[in-house]
Amino acid sequence: MKLLNSLAYFGLIVMGLVIIATVSTDSIWEDEAQGSPTTGELANALLLDWPFAFLMLGVLLAMALVGAAYLVRDERKENLEWEINGGEL
């Protein structure tokens, strides 16, 4: 088992090195960097070029929040009674 673990660690390290070597030596990085876009361009892109994706992100976040609140709801008896009685025990 220890040998398997060591092999897995070694494989992950090798994979990391391969990823670094592959992405660093790609030809797209040979040209001079053209500089970061501005935040105004980001705002324009989000609201004008990607409005549907932006809307869907909002829906996704809202669904995630509702789902998380539903998952962590507390169903203990005293809490249910507190809700039914309008905040009074």
Partner: protein, 100 residues
């Protein structure tokens, strides 16, 4: 400006650390954190590519990835909280069934 090659190198290192953590840890919170590391590594690559090409699309992809990561964390933590209240553990080796 930082050379984008350094940024993608950092992204690759973060990705490997995240992958290593997600594969080797049994604690659900740590696995979730390592998944976030992987997503952030991808974001760094998007930003580096945006800087390289001067194109804002990489930023848009990064914003989308950040929002998806936020949703994932919200649901993940809620699941772990629910799991802990039912089984009093978040050790992933002890969570094998998708039922109570």
């Amino acid at each position: 400006m930082i050379d984008p090659t350094y940024a993608i190198g950092l992204g690759a290192i973060l990705f490997t650390i995240g992958l290593w953590g997600a594969f080797t840890n049994k604690n659900a919170i740590i696995v979730l954190m390592c998944a976030e590391l992987i997503l952030n590594a991808v974001n760094i690559n998007f930003i580096a590519a945006a800087a390289q090409y001067g194109d804002v699309t990489g930023w848009v992809y990064a914003v989308i990835a950040i929002a998806i990561a936020a949703a994932e964390v919200a649901i993940g933590l809620a699941i772990f909280l629910s799991l802990y209240s039912q089984r009093e553990t978040i050790n992933l080796d002890e969570v094998r069934l998708l039922k109570n």
